[in-house]
């Protein structure tokens, strides 16, 4: 039992530790980070093997972009631009090697607007800027259009990482780049920006070091949390099914209500499934009707119940039983009156000199000054309470019976 408890405590600690470290630690490993003034660099060269078996060497310079196909949150495949340090051997990439303005064909060779030859290497293809899929037809390409040269679906065969030369204590030092080595540009204020080596200008102060991995995994961590939480959905459904299933066994009104419930679930499932159909289909129209004509209005109606509840709660609660209650009531009345035309009926006769005493102005002052101070006081209290509570749970100091405390 004690071993299990300890095991769970350790897991709890580790799960929280990631988020804490991600916040506390700098983006690169302290102690293994070189800092200095940027002088020059030797670019990273990625050797790609195309589908046809050709090799293309791509030096990472301005205009070069390496991207990988990944799933976006809607499940579609999309090109995601990768940082150079994220590239690893064996990956399949699309590499944009350069962009230029098309100047025409001369002796069968492509030339750019300045007349320089922009020959294509094996595996490279020309795409018109803005078009996605099909390579441009050279003969039909209008002169002056912007084009990009890409290598598609190429496997990374080898990476020569290159290096950066920094001025450290008046001496030149060459720092080797590598996988997971991040280049950060320091700013006078705030967190340094991560840049590609070619973006540095002579004189920039750079910090180059191995990443702590934590920041790169931030999206994955959030995704993990969401998925894990959503996987518990079934527990909710089981709870619902049990309660309504029990009702189904009973006789009378309860049974009908439960039956209606299950029928409604079926309707809801259909509405959900049809939501993803194309517009202009009957199924989608059905889903839209359910969502916009039924769920939407019902949500607004429930929200509007609050107006009634507010009235009865105010009637019951705002009694001058004590000075405190009186103060609360008076403030509420002033703010409420200030919001309506009646505020001016009551105080408008005071004239321009006493403008500050007009009810709308008094209400505004209360909201602006004392009220915002109250809110801030509450926020600070909440912050400290939050820190204490979080610490107790994270370090498993809580001696309560739940959370693995007792069995």
């Amino acid at each position: 039992m004690a071993a299990r408890r300890r095991f769970i405590a350790i897991l709890t600690f580790l799960a929280g530790l990631y988020f804490l470290l991600e916040f506390v630690l700098p983006p690169t490993v302290p102690g293994r980070t070189s800092r200095g003034i940027y002088l020059s660099h030797d670019p990273t060269v990625v050797r790609l093997r195309t589908g046809a078996g050709d090799f293309v060497d791509v030096a990472v310079r301005p205009g070069v972009e390496l991207s990988m196909m990944v799933r976006d949150p809607t499940g579609k495949l999309q090109a995601k631009v990768q940082r150079t340090r994220e590239v690893s051997v064996g990956e399949t990439l699309t590499a944009r090697t350069r962009t230029f303005v098309f100047g025409g064909l001369r002796n069968g060779l492509v030339v750019d607007a300045e007349g320089a030859v922009a020959a294509l290497r094996p595996g490279e293809q020309l795409y018109l800027d803005g078009s996605e899929e099909t390579p441009a037809d050279l003969a039909a390409l209008p002169i002056g259009s912007k084009v990009r040269v890409e290598v598609r679906s190429a496997r990374v065969a080898e990476v020569q990482w290159g290096s950066v030369t920094l001025l450290q204590n008046r001496e030149r030092a060459t720092i080797q780049l590598g996988p997971h080595v991040a280049v950060l540009r320091e700013k006078r204020k705030g967190t340094p920006d991560e840049i590609e080596p070619y973006e540095a200008r002579v004189g920039d102060t750079l910090a180059i070091g191995h990443t702590t991995f934590l920041r790169d995994q931030r999206d994955t961590a959030a995704q993990f949390n969401t998925v894990l939480g959503t996987l518990a959905l079934g527990m909710g459904l089981l709870s619902l099914a049990m309660v309504n299933g029990r009702k189904l066994k009973r006789s009378g009104e309860d049974r009908w209500v439960a039956l209606a419930f299950f029928a409604a679930v079926a309707v809801g499932v259909c509405a959900g499934v049809y939501k993803y159909y194309d517009p202009n289909t009957t199924e989608r129209a059905f889903s839209d009707t359910i969502v916009f004509r039924l769920l939407g209005p019902v949500g607004s109606t429930i929200f509007s119940l609050l107006a009634f509840y507010l009235a009865s709660a105010a009637y019951r609660a705002f009694r001058i039983r004590s000075a405190e209650a009186a103060l609360m009531m008076a403030t509420a009345l002033i703010v409420m009156l200030g919001q309506t035309p009646f505020g001016m009926y009551l105080t408008g006769w005071l004239g321009e000199q006493l403008k500050a005493l007009w009810l709308p102005n008094v209400a505004g002052w209360i909201l602006r000054v004392p009220n915002s101070a109250v809110v801030r006081g509450l926020i600070f209290g909440t912050m400290l309470g939050g820190i204490g509570t979080a610490l107790r749970y994270w370090l498993n100091l809580e001696k309560g019976s739940a959370m693995g405390g007792g069995d």
């Binding site: 003034i37 679930v265 809801g268 607004s300 109606t301 009531m329 109250v374």
Partner: protein, 513 residues
């Protein structure tokens, strides 16, 4: 409209109205219809949400990466093989369901523990990120300050006998027989380059490199390596870029200070042009250089007097012996006018690093080394009037040039210079502001004191403060309540409007024809 037509279009309105009234019926009394409707709404919502949660969360965030990963592991497809690890997350998710078992209950605590841990770890970042700015904003002055705001010295700069070149992140200076580049973050030297003679005029930047004029020769220095080549001095074309960064103005004839050429001025028709400004006896004249006919830029000459012109990005600065003017370079209107103790050596306009407090500050440097800062235009955030003196400081060394970027001021002279951090423009506060600040601070202290739990014995004063805190809390809650009423009620009005405009009125129109 026939009734059939009416029903074919308005059945949905009737359905909506029925739902609204069914829910409102609960206000009168709990009734079976309401119960039934409620179960139906809950049912539809659950069914809908299950599908949406699968389609929008689990399918794209878990199922797809997992299947793609397995495919990649088997050598098919093009996802990352690490995606297969999502299988483990699925297994972890299954542990939730051991809550239903008495024997293996503890397994579900694993995943509960992980969830709790994530929740706790998450809290630190969000709490600090949200609240530290609030702490700083609570530092409110309770009265006018006795000590004026001043720039803070950051690091010294080498000497320069001519106006240097600020080309972020480098500042290139020239004095004696050498040119020197320092970086602008900490002022460390990057390179130096020997010169054939003393520098004679302002440094400038060209596409090939940095040019240092030295008498009848000039040195072209490679910006990146600091290697220089000596060549004969060439005339300066009018379209030359004077400085990169904020400043783009240029005195074409070297020494003359009453003529200034500026690039990127917005002309009345909205284009960016090259404009030349000249002090004439009649006043300040502005001409468009890029137009063939050299049109005058402004409808009329602004009423200013002075002998020196300086560039101030959007503005043009005119300095006389006792007075300086800040003129909008595009429109020719006088934005502000400031009194000066003497004729300035250099003037510039600085902007702050903080975008919220980004207000133009007019800077003027004098031979004595004194630097003054004025509000160049009316400041919205700080409520300073145009031309108000904001701060003054002195380097105690002559200053020949001022430049700024990102809230840092670079002041350089023949005996060395200094980089200074510019202060945020101080707020112009009136008596009512101080009164508001008193109320604010007292309220804050009282409310915070109310939430002390553990002090067994406390002085009478503290008890008083705490009681006061409770009162103020009630005041705050009253204000929340009052301010919420309008919001809450607008939803009711929205529904009533639906009932009246979309349901009752069209129905009666149909009924009565």
């Amino acid at each position: 409209m026939s009734w059939t037509e009416y029903w074919s279009t308005s059945w949905a309105v009737w359905l909506g109205a029925f739902c609204v009234l069914a829910i409102y019926s609960y206000l009168f009394r709990d009734n079976p219809l309401y119960r039934l409707m409620m179960q139906i709404f809950i049912g539809i919502n659950v069914g809908y949400a299950v599908v949406v949660q699968w389609k929008d969360i689990l399918y794209p965030l878990w199922w797809l990466p997992m299947t793609d990963g397995i495919e990649a592991l088997l050598g098919r497809g093009q996802g990352s093989p690490y995606g297969a690890l999502w299988v483990l997350v699925g297994c972890l998710g299954l542990l939730w369901y051991f809550q239903l078992s008495r024997r293996y209950l503890w397994l579900s605590r694993i995943v509960i523990g992980i969830t709790v841990g994530i929740g706790a770890g998450f809290t630190f970042k969000s709490l600090f990120g949200q609240n530290i700015p609030q702490v700083v904003d609570s530092f409110r002055p309770l009265g006018p300050s006795a000590i004026a705001v001043q720039p803070r010295p950051l690091f010294p700069l080498p000497a320069s006998s001519v106006p240097p070149l600020l080309d972020e992140p480098l500042l290139v200076l020239a004095a004696g027989r050498q040119a020197l580049a320092v970086e602008t973050l900490e002022g460390r030297e990057v390179w130096r380059c020997p010169l054939p003679a003393e520098p004679s005029a302002r440094l400038r930047s060209t596409p090939e490199g940095i040019v240092v004029p030295c008498g009848d020769k000039e040195v072209l220095i490679n910006r990146d390596t600091g290697r220089g080549t000596v060549r004969a001095r060439r005339p300066v074309p009018p379209t030359l870029r004077g400085q990169t960064g904020l400043e783009s103005g240029w005195q074409p004839d070297g020494g003359r200070q009453d003529v200034l050429v500026k690039q990127g001025v917005v002309s009345p028709d909205g284009r960016e042009i090259l404009a030349s400004y000249r002090m004439e006896p009649s006043g300040l004249a502005a001409m468009s250089v890029s137009d063939v006919d050299g049109r005058t830029l402004w409808p009329q000459a602004p009423p200013v007097a002075g002998s020196k012109l300086f560039d101030g990005s959007r503005y043009l600065l005119v300095a006389g012996d006792r007075e300086a003017f800040c003129v909008d370079a595009s429109l020719g209107t006088v934005v502000s006018r400031v009194p000066l103790p003497a004729s300035p050596n250099w003037m510039a306009v600085a902007r702050m690093a903080d975008p919220v407090h980004d207000q133009a500050t007019l800077l003027a440097a004098f031979p004595s080394g004194e630097i003054l800062g004025f509000a160049a235009a009316e400041h919205r955030v700080s409520r300073q009037t145009a031309g108000a003196l904001l701060w003054r400081t002195s380097l105690r060394k002559p200053v020949v040039w001022l430049g700024s970027s990102g809230g840092v001021l670079f002041a350089v002279g023949p005996e060395g210079g200094s980089a200074l951090e510019l202060p945020n423009v101080p707020k112009a506060l009136g008596a009512s502001d101080y009164w508001d600040n008193w109320v604010f601070v007292v309220t804050l202290v009282c409310v915070m004191s109310y939430f002390f739990f553990s002090f067994r014995s406390e002085p009478r004063a503290v008890t008083g403060v705490r009681r006061m805190g409770r009162w103020l809390l009630m005041l705050g809650f009253g204000a929340f309540f009052g301010n919420t009423v309008m919001s809450r009620m607008s939803f009711l009005l929205d529904r009533l409007m639906f009932l009246v405009d979309e349901w009752i009125k069209p129905f009666f129109q149909q009924l009565l024809g």
